[in-house]
Amino acid sequence: MSLTSTVTDGTRIITVNAERIDAALAIQFKEDMRTETEAGPDHVILDLSSVNFIDSSGLGAIVAAMKQMGGHRNLDLAGLTPTVDKVFRLTRMDTVFNLFSSLEDAKAAIGN
């Protein structure tokens, strides 16, 4: 399992326990996200603060994880390290996701 997860104040917080979400991890990551988000709160924060590298496969897996949650639910991203942040901004995926520099900021934005 590449993830751990808790529910706090009606929000699921999923922490990625990997330094890289790359082609070698993408499929497992997507399946682990399905397991973690299948039931439970509509609002999910993905804590990426341990991740220092993502490639297009990892980016695609995060998009897929959001899509498999369904359009009525929210996946926010927190704790983006510089290289991860760059991939989201270059591909304009920063217009699709809410990005927060820290988990605390992401929680504050939804009033927790």
Partner: protein
């Protein structure tokens, strides 16, 4: 053999060569080693991150496309940093690029319905965004992709 290894005495400190079986894990390790080597040559974190993204995309394309449907062969990453210019070559013996040309690498279209958001197709756009030049050549069954970065 795709890349006869240089002995340490033949290779300068500002040059590197990492070869691996073309698998996702092999590429992860070879790219990580190349980036570690570049950091010893003084690349800053942001520059190293840019190179790592482009290099990882290019090498994973070899795994996913060049060797698709065949036994994975070798992929070799060689590089040289000289006067602020980083030149990297990625070589493989897989299938040539479709129509022998580099993809245009357009940005992915995000102006679509939620369920149609793209889950791939970002790779060439990232490579082109992060490099100065990209060139492709195929000679005697060997693909060579050349990436050039201006780090000055």
């Amino acid at each position: 053999m795709l890349c006869p290894p240089l002995s340490d005495s033949q290779r300068m400190a500002n040059e590197f060569e990492y070869c691996t079986v073309a698998s996702e894990l092999g590429v992860r390790e070879a790219v990580s080693r190349a980036i570690e080597h570049l950091k010893t040559l003084g690349l800053q974190e942001e520059q190293a991150g840019n190179v790592e993204i482009a290099l990882s995309e290019a090498a994973n394309n070899v795994v996913e496309h060049a060797y698709a449907g065949m036994l994975p062969g070798e992929v070799c990453i060689t590089g040289r940093l000289l006067q602020g210019i980083l030149s990297i070559e990625i070589r493989d013996e897989g299938a040539p690029l479709p129509s022998g040309k580099l993809p245009e690498g357009k940005p992915a279209d995000l102006s679509c319905a939620f369920e149609d958001l793209p889950e791939g197709g970002f790779g060439w756009f990232l490579i082109r965004s992060l490099t100065e030049t990209v060139d492709y050549d195929r000679i005697e069954g060997v693909n060579t992709l050349s990436l050039r970065f201006n780090l000055a």
